[in-house]
Amino acid sequence: MAAIRFDQVSKLYPGPVRAVDGVSIDIRDGEFLVLVGPSGCGKSTLIRMLAGLESVSAGVISIDDRSVNDLPPEQRNTAMVFQNYALYPHMTVRGNLAFPLKMRKTPPAEARAKIDEVAELLELSPILDRKPAQLSGGQRQRVAMGRAIVRDPAVFLMDEPLSNLDAKLRTQIRADIASLQHRLGTTTIYVTHDQVEAMTLGHRICVMKQGAVQQIGPPGEVYERPANAFVAGFLGNPGMNLIPAGAVSAAPDRLELDLAGQSLAFESSAIPSGDRIGSNCLLGVRPEALTPVKPNSQEPQLRCTIEAVELIGHEQLAHLSLASSEMPSTPLAGSYTDKIIARIPSTVRLERGSAMWFGLSPDAIYIFENDGEKRSIDHRATESPPVES
C-alpha cells in the first residue's frame, strides 16, 4: 500500500532529449492509474524511474512521502510486469515465483504457502514445474503477474503487459487484471499505448505526449472533456474528428463556422464572446456524434462525400470528405485535414461517392484553438463535472 508522488520529474538524455519533462502526478493509495500515450511519449521512462531502473534527472519521486530518488531498485518494494515478461528462463514457474521471496529471505514454509496461494489465484498450479519456454504467451503473462504479486509489493508497475498477446486473450486478461487489482487493492501504475486498455482499466488515466502530461482524470471525464486536440484525437477508436474551420463570427451565445466553404451556425449558452476565439480554430466532433439526416436548412448540417466504407459488424465506419465533387479538397496546414470518420449503424446503406448530410448538435461539438493546444469553448462548463471514483 502506498501513495506515490511525482514532483516536477524530468528525464534528460544527452542530446539533449527531454524524455520526461516536468511531470507532476499524485497517485492515491490503492489507485489504478493508467499512463497512456503514443510511443516515445515518456510513459515507460516515468515508471522505470519510479522502479529505480532509470535515474531521475530532476524533480522528486516519493513513495509514502519518502523520496526514493536515491534508492536502488531492490530497496523500493515495487514490482514490475515487463512487456516481454522477463521470466528467468532457467527456472521453473515455481522457481520464478519463489525468486523474489528467496531474495527477501522469506522462511521456506511461508514462501511455499505464498506460492501456492498465488498459483491458485492465477491458475498456475498445473504448470508450476514447467519452464517458461514450455508455456504459452498467456501463461507466461500470468507467471509474470504472479511473480509481481507473490511478495506483496507496495506498488505494481505494468509496462505494456498485454502487448505480446493476441486480441482475444488481451480482452480476457484485461478484465482479469482489473478484478485482481480491485481485489488486492495495491497501488498500480499501468503503461499502455492502447486507449481501449486505458479507458477500461484505470480509476484515472494520464495522457502523455512528448514527455509532458496532457490531462489526468477519470476515463469518462478525459473522454468527455478533453483538455486539448491531442487528447481528443488520441482517445476513442477512431479518435475525435478535428476539422480546421474559420470562425466567421462568434457573438455571445452564437458561433458561426466556415468549413471548407460550408457555413455552420450554432446557438448555445456556453459559447463565450468572440474575442476568445481566433479567426481559425479546430472543430472537434466524435465519430459517433455524426448522425445522418435528411437535408434541412434549419439545423446545423454538414454535407460530406462518402470516400470509403468499412463494415465492422454491427456498425460501419464512413470515411468522409467535406469537398463536393465541384470543389476538390485542398491540403490544409498542420496535421489536421478535412477527412472525417463517422460511425454509422450497419442498417444505413452507404454508397461510395455519394453525398450525405450529418446533423451536429451544439452539445456534441468541441472547439479547439487553431494550434490544438487548448479547448476554447467548454460547452459543458455548466454541467457538474463527473465524480471521481
Binding site: A51, F82, P89, F99, P100, M103
Partner: protein, 295 residues
C-alpha cells in the same frame, strides 16, 4: 531422410576432400604406422610388430610424466583462463566509452602467433635482476625478491608456461563470453533487481545461468587446447628442466622427428587421441545432464 542432391554433394565435396586428405587419411596412416616398426628415413623395410609400440609407450615413464604435466596444464589453464576471460568480459560489458579500444587490446594476444608470444614472455621471464618480471617483483617487494631463472627452475617453469598460455588464450574466450553476456535480456537483470537481488546475486542467478552454454563451450575448447599444448613448450623450455614442462604432443614430436621413431610417435598420437576424445565425451555428457536449457 532427404535424398542428397547432386548440387549439395558438389558443394560439400571440396571440404570433404580436404578433410579426408589432411585429417582422416593422416590419422588412418598413423593408426597403421603405430602397429609397425617404421622409422623416419630408414632404408630398412617396414614390419608389422603388433602392439609392441603401445606396450613400450605405456610402460615409459616419460610418457606418463608428459601426460601428468598435461593434466596439470589443463587443471591450471582451464579454470584460470575461463575466470580471467569472464572477468574481462564482465568489465567490457559495462556501458562505458572507449570499450572498443579495450576489447581490441584484450583480444590482440589471440592474433599474435604463439611463437611471438613465447619469445616476448621469454624476455619477461629473463633471469637475473635485469629480467622484467624479476625486476618488477624486486621493486614491488622493496628488494626482498631473489631473482630467479623462471624457465630453468623445475618449480617455476610450468607455471611460467601456464601464465603465457593463459595470457595468449584468454582473449578468445573473452569474446565468446562477451557475446553470451550481450545476449542476456537486460530486462532479466532489471526484474531480478526489482525482485530484491543485489549485484552479486544478480550475477549468480541471472548472468551465470545465462552464460551456461558459452561457458560449456569455452571449458571444452580450453580443455582440448590445453592438452594440445606444444609450441610454448618447444620454444620456451624444450620440455625441461628435467621434463618439468614436457607434454604428450611434445613427446610425440620428439619421438617422431627428433629420434625418427615414427611408429612410436604414431602410437602415442593414437593413445592421446582416444584419451582426449574420451575426456571431451565425458565433459559433454556431464554438462548435458545438468539442466536442459530450452532457449
Amino acid at each position: 531422410m532427404k535424398k542428397w542432391s547432386t548440387a549439395a554433394i558438389g558443394m560439400a565435396l571440396p571440404a570433404l576432400i580436404g578433410l579426408g586428405l589432411f585429417v582422416v587419411l593422416p590419422f588412418l596412416l598413423a593408426i597403421g604406422l603405430s602397429f609397425t616398426n617404421a622409422r623416419l628415413g630408414s632404408p630398412l623395410g617396414i614390419q608389422f610388430v603388433g602392439l609392441r609400440e603401445y606396450v613400450y609407450v605405456l610402460s615409459d615413464a616419460t610418457f606418463w610424466r608428459a601426460l601428468g604435466n598435461n593434466c596439470l596444464f589443463a587443471a591450471l589453464i582451464v579454470p584460470g583462463q575461463t575466470a580471467l576471460a569472464l572477468g574481462l568480459a564482465l568489465l567490457l560489458n559495462q556501458p562505458l566509452r572507449g570499450m572498443v579500444v579495450f576489447r581490441t587490446l584484450f583480444f590482440m594476444p589471440v592474433i599474435f602467433p604463439i611463437a611471438l608470444v613465447s619469445v616476448v614472455w621469454i624476455l619477461i621471464f629473463a633471469p637475473g635482476p635485469e629480467g622484467m618480471l624479476n625486476g618488477f617483483l624486486g621493486w614491488l617487494s622493496g628488494g626482498a625478491w631473489q631473482p630467479r631463472d623462471f624457465l630453468n627452475d623445475p618449480t617455476w617453469a610450468l607455471p611460467a608456461v601456464v601464465l603465457t598460455s593463459i595470457w595468449q588464450g584468454a582473449g578468445f574466450q573473452m569474446v565468446v563470453l562477451l557475446a553470451g553476456l550481450q545476449s542476456i535480456d537486460p530486462a532479466l537483470h532489471e526484474a531480478a533487481a526489482m525482485d530484491g537481488a543485489g549485484r552479486f546475486r544478480r550475477f549468480l542467478h541471472v548472468t551465470l545461468p545465462g552464460l551456461r552454454n558459452p561457458l560449456i563451450f569455452v571449458t571444452i575448447v580450453t580443455t582440448i587446447l590445453s592438452f594440445r599444448i606444444f609450441d610454448q613448450v618447444r620454444i620456451m623450455t624444450n620440455g625441461g628442466p628435467k621434463g618439468a614442462t614436457t607434454t604428450v604432443v611434445y613427446e610425440i614430436v620428439q619421438a617422431a622427428f627428433d629420434r625418427a621413431q615414427l611408429s612410436r610417435g604414431a602410437a602415442m598420437a593414437v593413445l592421446f587421441f582416444v584419451l582426449v576424445l574420451g575426456l571431451t565425451l565425458i565433459q559433454r555428457r556431464v554438462f548435458k545432464q545438468h539442466g536442459a536449457v530450452n532457449r
